[in-house]
């Protein structure tokens, strides 16, 4: 997105597309909100971003993705490795994902965690595996969308600065 069709140059290089990009960003966010992928907590995060922490949202979500990746991997191991899974540990992991997700406003992931917790309370292995699958699916979707979001944001900030295409 953001390419001028004829020239195939990124809009931001042309210094034009800032508004479009902003529109894109808003559109994307609106979509995510509408889908319930994100909730108002994400907006709070954006509000926290200020001069002292200009990249706050990006930093937080990066931490989130990194940690969640680990947790999901651990969960998979816990559920598949041994005969009898350690449901206490599973619960702790799920709790943590749930906490982080709610902190950044990842609503659907959080809901998936709630479901996961319920199943793990029953020590239902199959149920847990399914819940994990759902969790991973939601996680990947969010990850992609947020990456997209940050890309646009980056382009937009560049576009805002670029008034004249630079020679190199």
């Amino acid at each position: 997105m953001g390419f001028v069709r004829k020239t195939a140059l990124p809009l931001w290089l042309l210094g034009w597309g800032a508004e479009f990009l902003l529109a894109d960003m808003s559109h994307l966010l609106a979509l995510l909100f509408h889908q319930g992928v994100l909730d108002e907590q994400f907006l709070h995060l954006r509000q926290l971003q200020d001069e002292t922490s200009p990249n706050f949202v990006y930093e937080v979500t990066s931490i989130y993705f990194r940690e969640s990746e680990n947790l999901l991997m651990n969960l998979k191991l816990l559920l598949t490795e041994k005969e009898h899974s350690d449901y206490t540990k599973i619960k702790v992991h799920v709790n943590q994902i749930m906490g982080s997700s709610s902190s950044i406003g990842a609503n659907r992931i959080r809901n998936a965690c709630v479901a996961f917790r319920a199943v793990s309370d029953q020590h239902n292995r199959v149920g847990c595996l399914r819940a994990l699958e759902l969790l991973e699916k939601e996680y990947n979707y969010l990850k992609n969308k947020l990456h997209e979001f940050f890309q646009i944001e980056q382009q937009r900030s560049l576009a805002a600065r670029a008034r004249y295409p630079l020679p190199n």
């Binding site: 702790v92 943590q96 906490g99």
Partner: protein, 648 residues
């Protein structure tokens, strides 16, 4: 202790620059294995202008804290962490380092919260945490210091008693309560600091490890007390001498002291009332607004005491006499701490939209902080047995939870009044367990009416033998002043009860009460035609006696006294007040064929009589009970019954 913003008393700001700007610069240590959340939290805390240190690891946190205890003011910790048990960490920090700890969790279920409270948490926040919540966390620091300060003051009963009585008296005289009370309280606290006041002294005298059994002021005991006081002369009666004369085992000087204090307050009140005009418009009194009707009371000018004793007029329910003010006031303030605390809480309850000053007791004390509750119960007890004052109430001070008295919010007042309606109960020594039970009650910033009802009802059930015809007298008129809104839930967050939370009970009551209108008047009328069942405060309807166990946990015992409940008891407390009133009416009806409250005339038509003095009233009441019961009342009337009308 005054909140001077500089956090004196141990609040973190050690550096000069930050001193005056508390809560700015408050030093927070945040512990959570969730780095994402930690980062967000850190940013939010920084935005609140706190100093933040974060760590993923509980062990690191402990190390940081141990290295320098004074380096932090507040700790926030997740309770479910993989490597270290959040609750253990919580306990360690609270007890070893005496810092307020706020729990964090993704889950907010009751059990977890309860556990947290038991482990000493000052608060419990559910993720995601909002900015608004963080803006107020500094209160826990202040509160903790405040409580510690109170507890550390050494007891000095006599001095404190006299002074407190004096203070209370002063306050009674002044019309402008809230500010003055608060001010006086603060002054007193400051004085107390220097003079080994009894504020919290009771707690020192009875460290949590030595919970004494509550003294129940039975009729006989009280009689002895009265005899001793009369023998010595009221002016010269000091607890030590009284104790000697009484020559009873199992009572400590503190018990006597607090009882004496209450008695003095009561007398003061009674005398004050005796001189009031005799307008028997107790119904008018009934129109307390949900804040305990202080306004009404003060407005009417009937109460000689300041509005801090609103209950008295409020009690008007049945237009009974007003000795309660004495009781009410003192009921909670059994210990030296009581008066000022109580009054203060009363004031604060009125002044700050019912937000009562919270007193938090350390977790291991097992006493929960409850606001505004119990006074009435005490009162009830006292009145009921024509002075069957349960030692519990009176002995609040002597318990480690002496502070709890202060927690009683303004509701106490009307609780008292309501209590006053209780006829002296023959048999059971009404235990002031009510107060105890309140200890377990969650603190809620609302008005007493709700709690009162709850407690009173429970208490009533438990303590009074409601099944007997006499019990109709015992029913407390709950005409709640409406208020307690269902803030129990809200206040749960603020719960600082460390032991025996009886928030369920309170909740029930509150819900029921919150639906209560302000108009007692109306309620009464409604009651006469309503058939709502008497709703016990909690699930255990009927004779639920709340007892404070050694560690302050309120224990409900007893089986619902079905006979008391005219109809299906609505345990959800929806119609609490009306139930209470109805049940009262029912009882009265049973007893006296009364059809409506206004026409209620208990035997002897006490309510319609125009008693010149409280004494007469008391006599009448007692006589009536005496006729009915086997309760033995000596000639001495313990209370000067103020004129019925003037009670209002």
């Amino acid at each position: 202790m005054t909140v001077e913003g500089n956090g004196r008393g141990g609040v973190g700001m050690r550096d000069e620059g930050g001193r005056d700007k508390f809560p700015t610069g408050m030093r927070v240590l945040a512990v959570d294995d969730d780095s994402t959340f930690l980062k967000v939290l850190e940013k939010m805390l920084r935005d609140c202008k706190y100093h933040v240190t974060t760590t993923n690891d509980g062990a690191t946190a402990l190390r940081l804290l141990r290295e320098n205890r004074k380096s932090f003011d507040l700790v926030m910790s997740d309770v479910q962490m993989p490597e270290i048990d959040g609750f253990k960490l919580l306990e360690t920090v609270v007890f070893e380092m005496d810092l307020p700890v706020i729990m964090l969790s993704s889950y907010g279920d009751t059990k977890l919260v309860m556990r947290g409270v038991y482990h000493g948490a000052s608060d419990y926040l559910v993720k995601p945490v909002r900015m608004e919540e963080l803006k107020n966390i500094w209160q826990h620091v202040i509160r903790k210091n405040f409580n510690s300060k109170l507890k550390n003051d050494c007891p000095n009963l006599d001095k404190v008693n006299d002074r407190e009585v004096g203070v209370v008296g002063n306050m009674a005289a002044s019309g402008d309560l809230p500010g003055k009370l608060t001010k006086r309280r603060k002054e007193q606290n400051e004085d107390d600091e220097d003079e080994d006041s009894e504020d919290g002294g009771q707690e020192n005298e009875e460290p949590s490890s030595q919970k004494k059994p509550r003294v129940v002021w039975s009729v006989e005991l009280h009689q002895k007390f009265i005899n001793a006081v009369n023998q010595l002369g009221l002016e010269k009666a000091v607890p030590k001498k009284i104790l000697d004369i009484m020559n009873v085992e199992g009572i400590t000087r503190e018990n006597v002291a607090s009882h004496l204090q209450k008695y003095r307050m009561y007398l003061k009140k009674a005398r004050g009332f005796a001189s009031e005009s005799k307008d028997p418009s107790y119904i008018r009194l009934a129109s307390l607004d949900k804040y305990g009707e202080f306004q009404t009371l003060t407005g009417s000018g009937r109460l000689s005491s300041n509005s801090s004793l609103p209950s008295y007029s409020a009690i008007g329910m049945l237009g009974t006499f007003n000795p309660p003010s004495y009781l009410g006031l003192q009921g909670n303030a059994s210990s030296g701490v009581s008066s000022p605390n109580y009054l203060q809480t009363l004031n604060s309850s009125f002044t700050k939209a019912g937000k009562l000053q919270e007193v938090s007791l350390p977790a291991n004390q097992g006493s929960s902080i409850f606001q505004g509750v119990p006074t009435t119960l005490n009162f009830n007890n006292i009145i009921n047995s024509s002075i069957k004052v349960t030692g519990n109430n009176l002995d609040m001070g002597s318990s480690p939870n002496g502070l709890q008295n202060s927690v009683y919010s303004g509701m106490s007042s009307h609780v008292f009044t309501q209590g006053s309606q209780l006829q002296p109960q023959n048999a059971s020594s009404v235990e002031v367990t009510a107060s105890a039970s309140w200890q377990g009650v969650t603190r809620y910033s609302n008005f007493p009416s709700a709690t009162l009802n709850q407690h009173t009802s429970t208490n009533l059930r438990g303590n009074f033998n409601l099944t007997s015809p006499d019990t109709c007298d015992n029913l407390i008129d709950f005409s709640s002043t409406g208020a307690i809104s269902g803030t129990l839930e809200d206040s749960r967050r603020d719960i600082e009860c460390d032991g025996g939370l009886i928030d369920n009970v309170v909740r029930h009551v509150n819900y029921g009460l919150s639906q209560h209108g302000k108009d007692r008047h109306r309620n009464y009328k409604q009651i006469s035609s309503s058939t709502s069942a008497l709703v016990p405060a909690n699930g255990a309807s009927g004779s639920v006696s709340q007892r404070m166990t050694q560690n302050g946990t309120a224990v409900y015992s007893g089986v619902p006294d079905v006979s008391v409940i005219p109809e299906q008891s609505n345990l959800s407390g929806v119609h609490h007040h009306s139930s209470v009133e109805v049940s009262y009416i029912d009882h009265m009806t049973k007893c006296n064929d009364l059809s409506s409250l206004e026409h209620m005339k208990p035997q002897g038509s006490i309510y319609n009589a125009n008693y010149e003095s409280f004494d007469e009233l008391m006599n009448a009441v007692i006589k009536r009970d005496h006729n009915r019961e086997t309760m033995l009342m000596d000639g001495d009337m313990l209370f000067d019954a103020s004129q019925l009308g003037s009670c209002i």
